[in-house]
């Protein structure tokens, strides 16, 4: 199963670029959902077999990241009645370029970090960093609240990939706790987005700038 890890990570990186390049919000949510599925597969393949813990985590990941959260986001999208991310702070092409740069930097940076023998040559660390970076980029350059939530999800996914290397360190209940926190966070964000769209008739977060110096 270990052999599947790197191909899966490459797909994950491709999805990152998809997230950076698309302007349609529905596609963005789908991309995020697919990342959830990829993560579940990665859990199984990294653990090198279907243990009870791996299965539970994979199941929870699929359930939450591919089904529950995208559903919540889709609902929020429907309520806000918008479809596209127009005029991001940084355009789509530059975003893609930056994303590429970030991925490259992640590869470079990851080389400075010595890997344990069992992960030698693996893409786990660079992919983790690149995904986190992508998430950050979405957060910092997109205007729509929903896109930012997707960015946050991508950031979490990157962290999650890093966590894949640490099976013993994170016992099951901590792992579940992390996932639970994520869901609650997205849930709360969803509620706030609902309030934003009601109060401001838009989910453009650059309009949220009455609190400033």
């Amino acid at each position: 199963m270990q052999v599947a890890v790197d191909p899966l990570l490459v797909v994950l990186l491709l999805v990152n670029f998809f997230l950076l390049g698309t302007s349609r919000l529905r596609a963005l949510i789908s991309g995020s959902a697919s990342q959830g599925a990829l993560l579940a597969l990665l859990v199984l393949s990294v653990h090198g077999g279907i243990t009870l813990q791996a299965a539970l985590i994979a199941l929870a990941t699929i359930a939450l990241k591919t089904i529950v959260i995208p559903a919540m986001l889709t609902r929020a999208l429907r309520d806000a009645a918008i479809h596209r991310e127009i005029e991001p702070v940084i355009g789509f092409v530059p975003s893609l370029l930056l994303g590429g740069l970030g991925t490259g930097l992640s590869l470079v940076f990851a080389r400075t970090l010595p890997l344990a023998p069992e992960h030698a040559g693996s893409l786990l660390v660079p992919a983790s960093l690149a995904t986190a970076f992508t998430g950050f980029l979405l957060l910092a350059t997109r205007r729509k609240a929903i896109t930012q939530v997707v960015g946050y999800l991508a950031l979490e996914n990157g962290v999650f990939v890093m966590g894949l290397t640490l099976v013993e360190a994170m016992p099951l209940f901590v792992e579940i706790g992390v996932l639970l926190d994520l869901v609650v966070a997205i849930f709360v964000m969803g509620i706030i987005i609902e309030h934003i769209s009601r109060e401001f008739s838009s989910i453009d977060t650059t309009r949220l700038s009455s609190l400033k110096e």
Partner: protein, 651 residues
Amino acid sequence: MSEALALAACALAALSGMPGLFLPREGRAGERLACALIATADAAGVTAAVLAFASPSPRGISLPWAVPGGALEVRVDGLSAMFLAQIFFISALGAVYGLGYWRQVEHPHNGRKLRLFYGLLTAAMGLLVVARNAVLFLAGWEVMALAAFLTITTEDEKPAVREVGYLYLVATRLGTLCLFALFALLYGATGRFDFDTRGVEAGGPVGTAIFLLALAGFGIKAGLMPLHVWLPGAHGSAPTHVSALMSGVLIKMGIYGLARTAAGFAHPPLWWGGTLLSLGAVSAVLGVAFAIGQHDLKRLLAYHSVENIGIICMGLGLALLGRAVGHPELVLLGLAGALLHVWNHGLFKALLFLGAGSVIHGTGTRELDRLGGLLKRMPATALLFLVGAVAICGLPPLNGFVSELFVYLGLFQAVAAREGRWWIATAFAAPALALVGALALACFVKAFGAVFLGEPRSQDALRAHEAPRTMLGPMIALAASCACIGLAPAMVAPALDSAAASWGVRTPLASAVPLEKITLAAVLLLAALALAAAALASRVRGSSAAPTWDCGYAAPSARMQYSSSSFAQMLVGLFAFALRPREHAPRLAGPFPARAAYHGEVPDAILDRLVLPSLRAAGRAFEALRFIERGNVQAYLGYILLTLVLLLVWK
């Protein structure tokens, strides 16, 4: 013994305002009780000082105190006792004066608050002069600063009072922060938390830093030019008996700090004393020059505090010079001059402020150009104010002359030094002091003349009434003290000897200064005056009266009198390079010019042209930096990313 008494006095003074808070707001019981308490406390404090003069205890009290770095170390030596006596003496007189000046029935909103913080202020000052531990000292220091702030802003409904309060608060805080650094450095160098500087090399970087920090930190409190910017406003705006306490006592705490810190350095470099001497001279000359330009009686008095602090610093600088060149008599004369002037200034400045308070009480104004002719309406106040004015000019036979004489003697001794060339650098000081004396005379003739002599310039002055006995009593006590020290300086010599012992000077003052000759000269002067007065009186009895001749002008009016501004105009013009006066002089043209009025004022040049503009510039620069928080969450997230990347790249 004296330590315990001093601490008890502090505690009692701190609590003096408390009972009033629980008594009815309208009654007089609260203020009387507070006054009685603080008077008791002050009696105890003065007794403690006197005991310490008689037999300074070698050990003091030392108890553990459960705060980091703190210890309850208290000791009253001669130096402490000098200040202790002054604090409690003037505080008591101020409290009595307050009974008449700030009556609870007239100030129901802030009277209780004022008395509470007045007591606290007294206690904090008492504590800081006996404290021998840095934390305890700083606690006393800052409580004093805050209590003073709260008394200055007693009438915080007035915008001007709020402004000066803020300025004072900022200035005093800057000074306190310097002291933080000072004590931290001392601790680093000696490992101890007292004023003991043994082991610190005076000429080394730490010693230099300590001296400069002390100069800045204590100099701000003392109001040494150019760190005086808070002082004129604060003294002008506080209730007058608080001004008296501040000007007479509070700013001296800066002097105490300087004297106490310097006492530890047995071999200071020459430039320490030189710096202090020069700063003192600058402060004295410019202080009095600014004073001459003022229209506001209390501001005028406040600038004289800057002047007198300058004189005191000259004395201290002289003492340091004496140490640097190994000339013990110079140390004695400088220190005795400085410390006696501390007392003297406390006495006559408090007297003058209380006199000004009586004028405000009787007329409702403190504008010199609205007063005049009060001598006939407030004869007692006028006489007492005159005593203060003569004393502050350093004229015989009053106390100001004695302390200035000590400083002069020291300055002449310095110039007469046999070895080295350093003395030439001190040669400017005695003439500067003479200039200061002459200018102070000009200023106080102007003030006394504008307020008490001639004809009333306004209805307020016309309707003036004499102050009640509660206000006159303290003034009489102060005037009597001024006369006592002036006539019999030998009385205070033991106190000065005891204080000089804190600096390691063992020579008695009487061996360096002809104290009994001063008494003789003063008595002769009084006799000559009395003789001349009697002679003239015998000739002019039963003479007739007529309006002022005024070169034959037929219809003189009060508005034609020389005003205080016109009196000062020439001198202000001479010092215009430093004072930067503002004048609004109309240009008169044509045969029938329109009605015009001249107006001139001397604002504080350092405050208005240096401090405030730089603060405003800093404020603008800070506002320009606000673009980094424009409310854009994307940018905020970008900052985090940027920080992360930078930190990962760095190292």
